[in-house]
């Protein structure tokens, strides 16, 4: 299966701008399906961006984050060609990770 993470990281002088899109249902646990049954909560709990083994962005998420979330942030200290590792873990223990080269 294709990765659930899309990343684009561009070095812009001192800072590196990172954009990412993650495919995930992010069910809040409060929504019912067509049969009237509650859809159990299913959401990303921890999202991590690592550069050279050091976390540059960590998010502790809950059920209030939207489906297929989009993230944008910038950090200092990376160069073009460096690798950025992105990973997430959800409340059901599922996870995914990918790496992207900074452009």
């Amino acid at each position: 299966m294709a990765s659930t993470i899309r990343v684009r990281a561009t070095a812009n002088g001192e800072t590196t701008e990172v954009q990412a899109l993650i495919q995930h249902p992010m069910d809040s646990g409060f929504v019912k399906d067509a049969q009237g049954q509650l859809i159990p909560a299913h959401f990303i709990q921890r999202l991590t961006f690592e550069h050279n083994g050091k976390s540059v962005f960590v998010a502790n998420w809950g059920p209030a984050v939207s489906k297929d979330p989009y993230i944008k942030f910038a950090f200092k200290g990376a160069n073009k060609g460096d690798e950025l590792k992105i990973s997430w873990v959800d409340n059901k223990g599922a996870s995914d990770s990918t790496t992207a080269k900074i452009q």
Binding site: A2, R6, R8, Q19, L21, Q23, S66, K67, D68, Y70
Partner: protein, 287 residues
């Protein structure tokens, strides 16, 4: 008493006869001329929005509102329909159980052909939309049909639209009374008021494009199908043309028809025809 009754009955019959003549005369006086319709349709929008470039109408609300356009342009750097596009590409190339693929059902292997749909099939005598063609392709190859409104169907049409981006719509109405009747039916559907709110499609998308409907900006009818299928943030997912029609109907509190009903297909035929020459812009992203 009986004589008077007979007279009034006779005059009623006469009156009915006269009425029938008028009704029959009407279509003759107002012959179906799709080319003139399309020109009038386009001229109306061009005149009403002189600052909007013709090919920009396919961008719907973004052609009407500068602030929305900027937000959209930023979003397009990382478009929300990307996952659907990738899923569609994968599905499109994956063979059916009998070894055939979608490409075998379409000319040019299904690549770059979105602008030719819907078309009028002379053999079947009906309008064939891309969604219908995809499901017929599945059924012909022994696969279960897909839901017309979202998910897999939207992913497939997203991929097919993507491979056709920029190509101008090229809908043909053959000189066949059945094709003209389908076009007329679609046009009638577009302009007929219905539902508890008594809106026609045209009430919003011809009379009021660019105006606000609650928090939304209404899209112009010209080029409205060129960006289909769309990712709507409101839906948190993709939707096909069928989904758009069904939702429009229920929002005006009318009873929606079944997806890909004859009326909906004729409507798509009409709307696509009057947008001829405008480029395919799908898949699109809408708020």
């Amino acid at each position: 008493m009986r004589a008077r009754f007979a007279i009034s009955l006779a005059s009623a019959v006469l009156l009915l006869g006269a009425f029938a003549v008028i009704v029959r005369a009407a279509p003759g006086a107002d012959a179906v001329d799709p080319a003139a319709d399309a020109k009038a349709f386009r001229d109306y929008f061009v005149k009403r929005f002189p600052n909007v470039k013709l090919e920009d109408f396919v961008n719907g609300p973004y052609s009407m509102n500068e602030d929305m356009r900027r937000q959209w342009q930023e979003k397009e750097e990382f478009p929300p329909y990307e996952f659907a596009l990738e899923a569609g590409k994968e599905m499109f190339s994956k063979p059916f159980k009998n070894g055939k693929t979608y490409a075998d059902c379409f000319e040019n292997g299904g690549i770059g052909i979105r602008q030719n749909y819907p078309y009028f099939d002379a053999k079947e005598g009906e309008v064939i939309t891309l969604e219908l063609a995809l499901n017929r392709c599945r059924e012909a190859n022994g696969e279960a049909p897909l839901s017309y409104v979202k998910d897999d169907m939207a992913s497939l049409t997203a991929y097919m639209a993507f491979t056709s981006r920029g190509k101008p719509f090229d809908i043909k109405i053959p000189n066949d009374p059945r094709a003209l009747a389908a076009y007329e039916n679609g046009k009638r559907y577009f302009y007929t008021r219905r539902g508890q709110l008594n809106f026609s499609c045209a009430s919003c998308h011809v009379q009021s494009p660019g105006e606000r409907l609650r928090a939304e900006t209404l899209a112009p009818a010209l080029g409205i199908l060129n960006a289909m299928p769309i990712y709507r943030s409101e839906w948190a997912g993709m939707g096909t043309i069928s989904r758009r029609f069904v939702t429009c109907n229920s929002q005006t509190r009318a009873v929606p028809e079944e997806p890909q009903s004859e009326d909906y297909r004729d409507l798509e035929y009409f709307l696509s025809y009057v947008s001829n020459g405008l480029p395919v812009a799908g898949p699109g992203a809408r708020p």
